[in-house]
Symmetry: C2
Subunit: 236 residues, 2 copies
DNA sequence: TTACCCATTTTTGTACACAATTTACGCAAC
DNA sequence: GTTGCGTAAATTGTGTACAAAAATGGGTAA
């Protein structure tokens, strides 16, 4: 049996990340309670938890609002994420993967390569490649043997980022759906380098490649957002 | 006017970090409420906040307990902290300090050097050096221009760590009080290197020195704790 | 003794009422 | 128009009662 607080926290997290609420808009406790069919008590607990996760802003006596990340903040978070994932790659390489992990790692890389190098490149392929990308990074993080590091990385990956058009997206791996095919190829080349470095247990190289890999993704997203913002400004 | 929740959170945080409660022991909500002269409501909010900060463990329907970090976890956290502070040092060097910050930075370094190189080295000197050490690291973090990074570093610095003797200490800068004078000299040499690299805007060097500097501190603490644990085991 | 079960007690989870504070709105003065 | 003020409404903060779950303890059986 799960508590209502847990249930509400999960549902509210998904709603916020799913873009159900306007960023900057207040989250009314009573309204949420009625929508979730519970009292204000578990709602308040959930809001507090999401505030601690960085999804919401909070001001005493004023309530909670969906946090809105500026472009600068998003870039800052990507910088930290790049460094942390770089560390994870180095540790994974130095520790070395288990035989089973090696096998899965190779399979993931191979399937991504087949997709990117293949003839067809539609939504299905991009979706699948995105899933594999998440799995690939997840396998490295799982292999780094440092739970605190794994949590720290996770914290950098699920923050809401609002674009000017009102469409919410994430600072997560899904951001890659914005890229063109050339960027996927470039990203996959990084993955191949990374896989080689990690399997060869070259920690320093794995770290350098991973850091640059994630930082590039951050730069791409930053540029996209900046362009959109400029476009929006030019129109208004 | 501050809310009771804020007040209780602050007081409870200080109590936990101050070692007022036995790690692993349950934090009874009613008892805390009576001790703090409030109802259970703000106490529960405070417990949730401290759980999110990583100071407490929590199990639904079982309550909160003071988190007890294992030696491995402490080392893991130090590894992350070393990498993050290394990043901060690099960013600070690349951005460059303002004139005022440069001045304060040099003053801090000079006073630390005078203390370590001086004739007397008692509690007062160690205390003062510890304060300056915190200030030194704080100045670098403040200069890195990345608020998310600053917060991430802060999170690695205030976690309770229980030694076998029942004496609580912290994963904070204060850990240096354990070292002997040779270690202070070594640490100060790092600081001088760091200062030089940052003022000369050598980002890569600043990062490497800072990372090694913090990792060394982690190793020293890890060794101390391991020795103590062995001693305690030998006695029992 | 040890293990297990059940009733009791304790503790946590939730709803709700009320207090304290903020926000909204209308009105008047400039 | 807009600025300021004051009251009313809405919203958050807190206390408290009760429900639900877990810890406790005693007794029984192997």
């Amino acid at each position: 049996m799960v508590t209502r607080t847990e249930s509400v926290t999960r549902r509210l997290r998904e709603a916020v990340l799913g873009g159900a609420y306007v960023p900057g808009g207040r989250l009314n406790e009573m309204a949420l309670a009625e929508a979730m069919q519970v009292s204000r008590t578990p709602v308040r607990a959930a809001l507090g938890a999401l505030f601690a996760e960085g999804l919401l802003d909070y001001e005493p006596n004023c309530g909670y609002v969906v946090r809105r990340l500026s472009l600068d903040e998003a870039v800052h978070i990507y910088t930290v994420r790049a460094t942390l994932e770089g560390l994870a790659a180095r540790l994974a390489a130095e520790i070395g993967l288990t035989d089973a992990a090696r096998e899965r790692f190779r399979e993931t890389l191979d399937e991504m390569e087949r997709l990117v190098a293949g003839d067809s490149w539609g939504d299905a392929e991009q979706q699948r490649w995105g899933d594999l990308n998440i799995a690939f990074h997840g396998q490295i993080i799982a292999a780094c043997g440092n739970g605190y590091l794994a949590n720290s990385i996770q914290r950098t990956r699920t923050l809401p980022l609002l674009t000017e058009s009102g469409v919410r997206t994430f600072l997560a791996e899904r951001a890659v759906v914005w890229w063109d095919r050339v960027a996927y190829r470039r990203s996959q080349d990084d993955h191949l380098d990374l896989g080689e470095a990690i399997l060869a247990r070259h920690g320093a190289r794995a770290e350098a490649v991973m850091r640059e890999h994630v930082e590039r993704a951050g730069r791409l997203i930053g540029r996209k957002l900046a362009n959109r913002s400029e476009a929006a400004l030019a129109l208004s």
